[in-house]
């Protein structure tokens, strides 16, 4: 290869490298969710007696934090799965769940107790909290004089680490 040819290749290579360099950014965009959620799955007994449970669709669900004025949902139609976020400020939080917004009397409180763990996502996304669920209680069995929708809750997976496919909490409703 002649000297001229070599210099041409040298400049060509430098140009290609500069093209790659132009794509470099001061900060990469964050492409991951920054907050993790507890995935809820709603069930009801298939018959009045028996141990078979099936998915149930909540007709017009309202789900909001109890100790926080923020509104999370105002009425979601026909869902059998939903998710909520735990408070990163404390080791417990309370939510209320109303299966049907037209029946305000049927309203339950979910009380979550958990451990928080700071988790590094990436330089682009920063930090978030992962959680380990210790206990979930409902008010359904506590206040017997009120009509409740929830029969019981079962923790299916204690580790809340951002996996959207994992079911964390099974909520069983009265028929």
């Amino acid at each position: 290869m002649t000297k001229r040819g070599m210099i041409q290749k040298l400049l060509l290579g430098m140009g290609v490298c500069l093209g790659f360099a132009a794509c470099d950014k001061e900060r990469d965009p964050c492409l991951e969710p920054k907050n993790v959620s507890v995935n809820l799955h709603f069930y009801r007994r298939a018959a009045d007696t028996g141990t078979v449970f099936v998915d149930t669709l909540l007709p017009n669900m309202v789900l909001n934090p109890l100790d926080n004025p923020s509104v999370y949902t105002t009425g979601v139609r026909g869902v059998s799965r939903y998710s909520l976020r735990l408070s990163p400020l404390e080791d417990s939080c309370r939510w209320y769940l109303q299966p049907d917004s037209t029946q305000p009397g049927k309203r339950d409180t979910l009380i979550f107790r958990y451990e928080r763990r700071l988790h590094f996502i990436s330089n682009a996304c920063g930090y978030t909290y992962y959680y380990k669920l210790n206990e979930v209680k409902t008010t359904g069995r506590i206040l017997a004089d009120t009509i409740h929708a929830i029969d019981s809750v079962v923790i299916a997976n204690r580790d809340i680490e951002g996996d959207a496919s994992k079911e964390h909490l099974k909520i069983y409703f009265h028929r």
Binding site: T2, K3, C17, D24, E26, N68, S87, P88, N123, G126
Partner: protein
């Protein structure tokens, strides 16, 4: 990692092998004497060459991006046939300041390895090269105390600090590139590099976003490049008793 390794090899191989094939078109490869000539005779004819190079690309990108700076030096010594022993080193620092995450870091690094010239030498004065090479790199990185803020639109913000930490990084590189002696003893060249982090687990907890000599600290494979300006020292041109009769005059019509 194997997937990335194969990808880099596939990218580098056609680029680097195309150059010597092209270069051979200009030589007297059809000449049987030239073809049969032992290459070590030519090697013994050559003077020693020790080259020192300064990387121009990192100061340039530091000026453009603002939140990092890095400086790299390279030296190579022609020690055998088409092989060059390479030692590289440098230092750098970064400043990462965003509302949700902030820290400063600094590091020094070194890389050691070799380059193999893939191009046939056309004359005793031909030091141009198209090369492929391999490096082992290591760096000691100091990340200062970091401050973070998490934001949840429902619950609000939390914030805190993460203590300073020292990391040691190890990686290997596949390199490819070219060097051209634009005027006697002065070289310009570029090197592209595919890097593969060896100790990934050490970088899981808030690695610096920029590590001089490596690249983005939270990536396990990195593509990078350098532009070099170099100066070559040459000395002790050896006397060769059985030197062939001026093969280089025939071999370099275009140079």
């Amino acid at each position: 990692m194997l997937k990335y390794l194969i990808r880099y090899i596939l990218i580098l191989a056609p680029l680097l092998y195309a150059f010597p094939l092209y270069a051979q078109d200009d030589t007297t490869a059809d000449d049987p004497e030239e073809v049969n000539k032992p290459k070590d005779i030519l090697f013994r004819q050559l003077p020693h060459q020790w080259r020192f190079s300064l990387d121009l690309s990192k100061p340039l990108s530091s000026a453009l991006l603002g939140n990092r700076n890095g400086y790299e030096l390279m030296t190579d010594y022609h020690f055998r046939k088409d092989l060059y022993a390479v030692l590289e080193g440098g230092w750098g620092s970064s400043r990462y300041e965003y509302p949700d995450l902030g820290y400063r870091s600094a590091n020094a690094f070194m890389r050691i390895g070799f380059d193999k010239n893939m191009m046939q030498r056309l004359s005793l004065t031909d030091w141009d090269m198209v090369f492929a090479g391999l490096r082992y790199g290591m760096s000691v990185i100091r990340r200062g105390e970091s401050h973070y803020t998490t934001t949840d639109s429902l619950w609000g913000q939390t914030s805190g600090t993460i203590g300073a930490r020292t990391f040691t990084g190890h990686w290997v590189e596949l390199t490819g590139g070219m060097n051209v002696e634009v005027v006697p003893r002065i070289f310009l060249g570029w090197t592209i590099r595919g890097r593969f982090l060896l100790n990934r687990s050490a970088f899981e907890e808030l690695p610096p976003f920029y590590i001089a000599g490596y690249g983005k600290g939270d990536k396990n494979t990195i593509f990078d490049f350098n532009f070099y300006l170099g100066y070559a020292l040459r000395w002790n041109k050896a006397k060769v008793k059985e030197a062939p009769a001026a093969p280089e005059e025939k071999a370099s019509p275009g140079k």
